[in-house]
Homo-oligomer: 250 residues x 4
């Protein structure tokens, strides 16, 4: 429960995970015994000591994303893969509305095919993939970007990951900050930002469930930076439309 | 019918209109006796002599946009206002898919709230408005853009139009080529382009049904240029996703 | 001197002004008796209590922008008009290099024709203008943007200003957050951001020397937000180029 | 001489090459006996039968780029490497002005450090490199883009090339259509477009002088498409600035 004490935190984060593979596949359970969401939440709590970090899954009532919870959420992380279709449309509607009203959203890895990401993008969000555990190097193509703050090196290395390759069918991102190289021959736009309504959206590619990607310190740093970047900002929301009667006096 | 002779045309255009106001409101009928779609189609035929230009409306079977017709369409124009909700979802699905596969789409005026535009944008597409017939001046903010080819002046003037004002809740356009000034005090991003999948999307603001906007030569020139710009181009479509088995030999 | 105590401040700002009109034109002196730079610096000190805010002018040795000073500067504000040509090229070279290395730069009003802005843009940066003291309304076209944080309304109003009109010959900005309406019939992209190297660049239009624009609280809020937004961020700078000998082991 | 007959051609292209390596290094002469410019010009003549294609080099008077020649040029290709500093500033000034006035510019490979490209970008344009002849695969990341028209596959392959790696210090391109994968572990934004003034600028990475890259049909197709895309378009040029006296009657 974050209700009574929400005023004491600078950031209120919820990490959402479908939490399916970790309960059904032994090799995944071995990597993320309590679920991907718990691993990510623990990392964020350590890196963002002023933040309140909560978790939610598909299996909670309203998938843990009822109106009251979202009213108390600044940034929502989203991991899904096997159960995109089991996410209720009314929950997707709600999350979509909250993003347009200013809630940050960080979509991870196979979340590229989630209902919420596809609705925000307006495209298929399809891509090429190969799950053979290969080397990924994520090059920083915008060293000025706040999401890569704190990196000494020009890239992030992940020893073994699923490959995602272009063409990634998304609108041209507003900002592109990471491009992946895979040893098998592909490239991918792995760190992207999008503005939708008043909400800031981040897509970050790595994180296949069979690899310990979210245990890597560099990856955790990206996630913490992404949360900071996606925090609500700006003016009063004005997306509701308005019939204006009076012209301005000149 | 465009079937048998499609190979003789360089461009195959369909102008879609809900065609409601022109049949029910006398003041609109006076301006567009045969419908907005017919006025636009006639202008395009004159300005694009190599193009095949056809029309379709809400009242045709499948709204005139069945699979066979869309297979023969390079660029689709869209005007709607009163009847957005009467457009069948299966037709919207089909148009959406065709845009992602490469069909150009030119969305006009109140089409900003059409199902197809909102689905492609992922936002509310809401805005401010005032229908008091005021002066609009559309300034060219990207004089290099092909859609403003042929203009001697730095702006387009429309003596009397409905006002649309910011904030217009769309993703940041890939290209912004026109910004409107309204005498009543507002501005608006009136000429925008977006890429979605392989399709090129244009939004062009003017064209309220009670004003003779689509009879203006400068406006017709913009529509013809937009059709040319939105023509399919590029490589084979690759948005379908693909499981890749073999890595590249190094 | 900010040297010994720089470690106690979160932000180190320098406000640069050519400081010519205020010493030579009575009507300008009446509005900014100590110079535009002092008015801006005082506002920033009040709105950003953690910041160190210093000033510099054309008339200081090295225009007040020697290597040591710039090494201690996070964000530089720039106002110039009559004396662009009197800014030494070696100083422009130095500021240019510092921006590419990560220093933020906020270019104000007639600074659009400064050597530093034109060098960063690569274009003429020319525009239309009319100095007849007319009403300007700046519409927020990206309500999510941090630079418009804290605004309740959908626009900023300035009762009397010089007009700047399109076409403004700049590269398409990375982000467009304000568009001006002028009562005389023009529009202008008045709030723009650009990334150049590791540096973040803001252009903010208002601020003709004969009007008390920088005394307005809303304008001061934009300047403070712009300073925050332009703070250095990101990874280690890598713009220096590098000959790489060894390929990666696959 | 293209003077008397310029009116008979749809496109007037000039391919500029410093033409140094091909006269001094045997291994380069073996690949491009008449110079890189001649190989490119021949390919463009074949693929663009309606175009007039001319060549120019560093060694011509005014480097072959006098005012009269540029007045007759729609699109200029630029290849340089060893002699960037020997290009006269007055010629760079002229080419810069012509680009801002609408002439297309296609910058190839090591032209990233040419005076003209750096001036248009406003950044260092530095990058990482390794000249060990490795495999490059250029992935199409925007399959809708006209410059990749005619490609059946999702990538272009080059068996042996010099590596260029990120970070490439350019402003974020307006459009990114190709990203390279190199077998040695790097990625690169290899196909980029930029608008500057009224001119369209393309950067295309491949083409080290020791490899037969410009003899490859796929590469030649990209060059021809780039020429078509960079053709002047749009409204009358308005970048010259203008003092406007009269406000608009409302």
């Amino acid at each position: 429960m974050i209700g009574n004490i929400e005023w004491t935190f600078d950031m209120r984060i919820v990490v959402w995970n479908e939490f399916v593979h970790e309960q059904t596949v032994d090799s995944v359970k071995a990597v993320y015994p309590q679920g991907i969401h718990v691993t990510i939440a623990e990392a964020l709590r350590e890196l963002l000591p002023d933040a309140s970090v909560d978790v939610a899954t598909l299996h909670d009532p309203e998938h843990g994303l009822d109106e009251a919870r979202l009213d108390q959420t600044d940034v929502l992380f989203w991991w899904g893969h096997a159960a995109h279709d089991r996410v209720e449309d009314r929950v997707v509607d709600r999350v979509h509305r909250k993003v347009l009203e200013g809630m940050g959203l960080v979509v991870l890895h196979s979340g590229h095919l989630s209902k919420i990401f596809r609705r925000l993008m307006g495209t298929t969000c399809m891509l090429r993939w190969r799950d053979s555990g290969e080397r990924e190097r994520l090059w920083i193509v915008d060293p000025s970007h706040p999401i890569v703050s704190g990196f000494d090196d020009e890239y992030l290395d992940i020893p073994s990951e699923e490959m995602y390759g272009e063409h990634f069918d998304i609108p041209a991102p507003d900002e592109l900050f990471l491009v992946s190289w895979f040893s098998g021959g592909e490239v991918f736009r792995s760190g992207c930002t999008f503005r939708r309504g008043k909400g800031k959206v981040v897509y970050f590619r790595p994180g296949h469930e069979t690899f310990p990607t979210y245990h890597l310190p560099q990856v955790q740093q990206i996630l913490a930076n992404a949360a900071r970047w996606a925090m609500p900002s700006g003016s009063k929301y004005v997306g509701e439309g308005r019939h204006i009667i009076e012209p301005l006096e000149r």
